[in-house]
């Protein structure tokens, strides 16, 4: 199935053993490089050229540009300046990254990943590095260093697991974003992320799905729901004056199991009598500007949501199931596209769809038949960006409890994976942070190992059959990667898919009851 070895999982205790350091196992050229026209659209320098062998050059003055950007960023981001300075090399983070656990390449240890940037920072911007480079491990900026950056900063999913365990909260995600922003400015933009963002600017979503196609898709989903339940549930698009604007990752429009989640939100809204709409202009919850460390592009994408909300005259903004979309929404949207004083102040801006579903379940407003999910035993994968990058429900830890509460309210069989692999210690799916691309398949497969190990454990010992997630990237990554570990793709489900299964709509006639 692959030209590299897929890690072995045992399922014994659900915890991946820490491998011995094995240098250069993941040395390589990194993901595909973004072409000049996409760089331009992002307002990055684009004077790079391809040689006969198809390799892209760096921009002519790459070295000055890189150092200049590094200097600029450390003055605009305290995280970067502080984290580069204060790491004591204690090593507490070294066994915390799923990419290190899955690949054994020491440059995938969080602190070593930071050091790739730190050694250059020290060389050019600190006293000790300028005068005693050998002593403090400082090195000159060379093309090889740029190559290493490009390769290893694209083996970090910016999941922040390392920051939980660092005594100073040093967050390698911040370093990795800064590094990618520097790379953006020397001609090493990443094709996958920049192309996708280009589509958002041009069309409104990552998939490049234009309005008519979107309308068509939604109509198809309405038919599916009516076929299944006999109830007409609407999935409105660009409906002016609706109360709620739903922003959801575009994968929800077509991918499995995402789309079952989308139908779930629609059914919940319908049952609660909420007047809602999607927007074709802002038909994307995902914001890849975060991945590439570009505040400006992240802000530009976020502004589309503000504009859509104003144009449609909605009162509330609600986000669907997506991990980093929710981090950008919960933690950054107010900063990037606020203030939202034109929306109904009774509701947080934005809200998560689970912040609607869970109170509705508690209030008994939804008619739930749990037994409809009896064919499954569920576990829940905490998506890293939700677990460690955002909150939910306005209480500390709500992002762990609310999804679990909802799952338990609609399913009879639920078990958690081992404690070291869930909640704020959760392992990334292996595909976050702009890694979810076919040119990084090996990184994705190996990075999934710790999660697969935990899943195997509960599968073997607790009879788990399905794993639920609330992130489009997790769902896409898992459906693609779990077959490598002996599972099947239909074992991944959306949380609102479970809700949808168990929810009995007013007037529902089940398809099998009809005949």
């Amino acid at each position: 199935m692959a030209d590299y070895e897929v890690p072995k999982i045992t399922g014994e205790d659900g915890i991946t053993d820490v491998p011995p350091v094995t240098e250069d196992t993941m040395k390589g050229s990194g993901p595909w490089i973004s072409a000049p026209k996409f760089q331009e659209e992002m307002h990055f320098p684009s004077d790079i050229e391809k040689d006969e062998e198809g390799n892209w050059s760096l921009i002519p003055n790459w070295k000055e540009a890189a150092l200049e950007k590094m200097d600029d960023l450390r003055h605009r981001y305290r995280s970067l300046q502080l984290f580069l300075d204060i790491c004591v090399k204690c090593g507490a983070c070294t066994d915390k990254c799923h990419y290190f656990l899955g690949t054994a390449d020491p440059k995938n240890m969080p602190v070593a990943r930071q050091d790739l940037l730190r050694k250059v920072y020290r060389r050019y911007f600190t006293f000790s590095g300028k005068y005693f480079p050998k002593l403090v491990g400082a090195t000159d900026l060379t093309e090889e260093v740029i190559d290493d950056w490009y390769n290893y900063y694209h083996q970090c999913s910016q999941c922040r697991r390392c920051s939980v365990f660092c005594p100073y909260g040093i967050d390698t995600a911040e370093i990795s974003m800064a590094a990618r922003e520097i790379l953006n400015h020397v001609g090493r933009g990443q094709k996958y992320c920049t192309e996708i963002m280009g589509k958002v600017y041009k069309i409104g979503n990552n998939l490049g799905l234009p309005e008519p196609a979107l309308a068509d898709t939604l109509e198809g989903l309405e038919e599916d729901i009516e076929y299944d339940t006999g109830v007409q549930v609407k999935l409105p698009l660009d409906k002016k004056g609706a109360e709620i604007l739903l922003i959801t990752p575009s994968a929800d429009f077509f991918a499995e199991p995402h789309v079952d989640g989308l139908m779930g939100y629609a059914k919940v809204f319908h049952e609660l009598g909420l007047d809602w709409t999607l927007s074709s202009y802002a038909s994307e919850g995902a914001n890849f500007g975060m991945f590439i460390g570009s505040y400006e592009n992240m802000r530009r994408i976020s502004q589309r949501i503000r504009k859509a909300a104003l144009d449609l005259g909605v009162k509330r903004i609600v986000f669907g199931e997506c991990g980093h979309a929710w981090r950008v929404a919960y933690s950054f949207l107010n900063t990037l596209a606020g203030p939202f004083d034109f929306l109904d102040p009774k509701y947080p801006v934005p809200q998560h769809v689970l912040e609607i579903t869970w109170p509705a379940i508690q209030a008994g407003k939804l008619n739930i038949d749990k037994s409809r999910n009896d064919d499954m035993t569920l576990t829940f994968h905490d998506s890293c960006n939700i677990a460690r990058g955002s909150g939910m429900g306005g209480v500390e830890g709500g992002q762990f409890d609310i999804p679990r509460n909802v799952i338990k309210a609609v399913c009879n069989n639920y078990v958690d994976m081992p404690a070291d692999t869930i909640k704020d210690a959760t392992f990334c799916c292996g595909g976050g942070g702009g890694i979810l691309t076919d040119d990084l398949m090996e990184v994705r497969v190996k990075g999934a190992q710790p999660r697969m190990e935990a899943l195997k454990h509960v599968t073997d010992q607790k009879g788990v059959t399905h794993m639920a997630a609330i992130c489009a990237i997790c769902k896409s990554q898992f459906t693609k990667v779990i077959p490598y570990y002996g599972f099947t793709m239909d074992q991944i489900v959306s949380v609102h898919q479970l809700v949808s299964n168990a929810l009995i709509l007013t007037g529902q006639v089940d398809e099998d009851e009809e005949d």
Binding site: P20, R76, A425
Partner: protein
């Protein structure tokens, strides 16, 4: 006054000024550099009081470290707590009258030096033994531990092996403070000189080294931010300029 006293007097004044000025300079940078986005590692406290508590747990008990590595946590606690005791006890060499807390701590402080050196030795051993930690260690990481060990051992030797003329040393440090140059006198005791030289070196490198983790941790945005992004708009000055001028890119800003 003697020559040694003069040399070390100048050295210690220099070192003290360097560490104070250096820390102020660095901390000013941390203070002034904006954190443009809310990035607390979640779940994070929802109030300022909660953040104070979180920071206290980190600084006093190394809470995150406890979660990540129990053995390292024990070594780190041994070293840092013992160091704190030793430092407290050392204030007796800088003041005429000895504070009652210091008197109370005296017996513990005396032996804390052993725990400190043991903790440091274990930390050093870790750097050699664990392949991951060895990989990330630069020469300066080993040297820093060795320097601290040297300080600890020379201190212990004076306490338990060959006593130095502590009365003269105390009067030296008090006169350093009061600038009473006539009394800048030090005994020519090699162990004492090793101790003092290595301490001065430590003070000198503090602001340009990883020792900045001590003041730095308080500025760590992942630990000191309140989880209130939805309730309160948080915008850095440089980013607010984009809003004000209605442009998308910093390069489009008019000065």
């Amino acid at each position: 006054m003697n020559a040694l006293g003069l040399i070390y007097g100048v050295l210690f004044w220099l070192a003290t000024l360097t560490i104070v000025a250096g820390i102020i300079y660095k901390v000013r940078i941390y203070w002034k550099t904006p954190a443009p986005l809310k990035i607390p590692t979640m779940p994070a406290p929802r109030t300022k009081g909660g953040v104070v508590l979180r920071m206290f747990r980190e600084v006093a008990f190394f809470h995150s470290l406890f979660r990540s590595d129990k053995l390292l946590w024990i070594f780190a606690i041994m070293f840092h707590y013992a160091l704190a005791l030793v430092l407290l006890r050392h204030t007796r060499y800088f003041t005429e009258t000895i504070n009652s807390i210091v008197l109370f701590l005296q017996p513990f402080g005396k032996y804390a030096g052993f725990i400190m050196v043991l903790g440091l030795a274990l930390l050093l051993a870790r750097r050699f033994i664990i392949d991951r930690v060895r990989y990330i260690s630069a020469p300066s990481d080993f040297l820093m531990l060795l320097l601290l060990i040297l300080i600890g051992i020379s201190g212990l030797m004076m306490k338990f092996v060959s006593h130095t003329d502590i009365v003269t040393v105390k009067s030296f440090f008090i006169s350093l403070r009061t600038f009473n140059i006539e009394n800048w006198t030090l005994p020519a005791d090699p162990v004492l000189l090793v101790h003092l030289t290595s301490v001065a070196l430590l003070l000198l490198v503090f602001p340009i080294s990883k020792l900045m983790h001590a003041p730095g941790v308080f500025f760590s945005p992942t630990r000191n931010q309140v989880d209130d992004a939805r309730e309160k708009r948080h915008v850095a000055d440089w980013a607010a300029e984009l809003d004000k001028q209605g442009v998308d890119y910093l390069s489009e800003l008019k000065k």
